[in-house]
């Protein structure tokens, strides 16, 4: 079970990381020329400063998602071990707790991969113009 979980989770996270997951900070970086979100940041003379700051943020985003994947994989593996042990000794509470924990971890990871990019697009598109 653990081997199956490990292979499946690595395949899923790898696919999400390399193909499906948009990078909202990259979108923000491209937003000066109209990124995939369609927002635009008119920074005026401060545009070069933003151009230096946002690549750092993009790198931080990549690092954060990689750390999230590692933590979620380890957490899922832990729950798989716990569920296996619970099932083998007949501990139904332990097994159900492990299943619930694994579902929680999957929901959290899906939040990072699906909710955050959409939220970022929403924020970029609704950024207020200068009120003066």
């Amino acid at each position: 079970m653990n081997t199956i979980y490990l292979r499946a989770s690595l395949a899923l996270y790898g696919r999400l990381l390399h193909h499906a997951m948009p990078n909202p900070v990259t979108d923000l970086l491209n937003a000066a020329g109209g990124g995939s979100c369609g927002g635009s940041t008119s920074a005026g003379i401060f545009a070069p400063v933003l151009a230096k700051l946002l690549p750092l943020a993009r790198d931080a985003w990549g690092f954060g998602t990689a750390v999230l994947i590692v933590i979620a994989s380890l957490g899922g593996l832990y729950f798989a071990l716990k569920g296996t042990a619970g099932a083998s000794i007949g501990g139904s509470g332990m097994a159900s707790g492990a299943i619930i924990g694994m579902v929680t971890v999957i929901i959290v990871v899906l939040m990072a991969f699906l909710l955050l990019p959409q939220l970022s697009c929403l924020l970029q598109n609704s950024a207020p113009a200068a009120p003066f």
Partner: protein
């Protein structure tokens, strides 16, 4: 005078756009950091840290909504009341240009305070939002006081 004020306000307008861009990036990265914390605590089975991380995420969304919705409304309301100040002749023009520039500086100060509060919410600190609100109140009171000072000074000097 108005021309000089226009140049200053254009620079501040660019700064506003830059602050908003950095704010979005900071909010997204902060939420990602809280999600990492949340997933770690969920994996370890620590409900208190999970709840704290989730509430930090919600707090960050509230701060961003405050910056997006409340700050422009506050600045528009205050600047519309301050721009109609008294005075006459060159003093009135000077006061109007000063109020125009002050509105820009005030909104930037509030945006900066909100950005700082997002950074503090990112690390799970509690004081960020109160700092942003007190900074906004301080800026507004200062702006209103200065907009009163120009007509008073003009009347004192006998300009009107």
């Amino acid at each position: 005078m108005m021309h000089a004020s226009e140049i200053l306000v254009n620079i501040l307008r660019g700064a506003w756009g830059a602050v908003m861009g950095v704010m979005v990036a900071a909010a997204v990265l902060g939420m990602l950091a809280q999600l990492v914390r949340l997933s770690g605590s969920a994996a370890l089975g620590a409900p208190m840290i999970t709840a704290r991380a989730a509430s930090s995420m919600l707090g960050m969304i509230v701060v961003v909504l405050y910056a997006y919705l409340a700050v422009p409304a506050i600045v528009r309301a205050v600047s519309s009341s301050a721009l109609g100040g008294g005075g006459c002749g060159p003093a009135a023009e000077l006061g109007q240009a000063a109020a125009y520039a002050m509105a820009a500086i005030t909104s930037l100060r509030i945006a900066k305070a909100t950005l700082i509060s997002i950074f503090s919410a990112m690390s799970g600190a509690q004081t960020g939002m109160s700092y942003a609100i007190s900074e906004a109140a301080e800026s507004i009171i200062g702006m209103l006081l200065i907009s009163i000072a120009v007509p008073v000074a003009a009347a004192f000097l006998g300009a009107c």
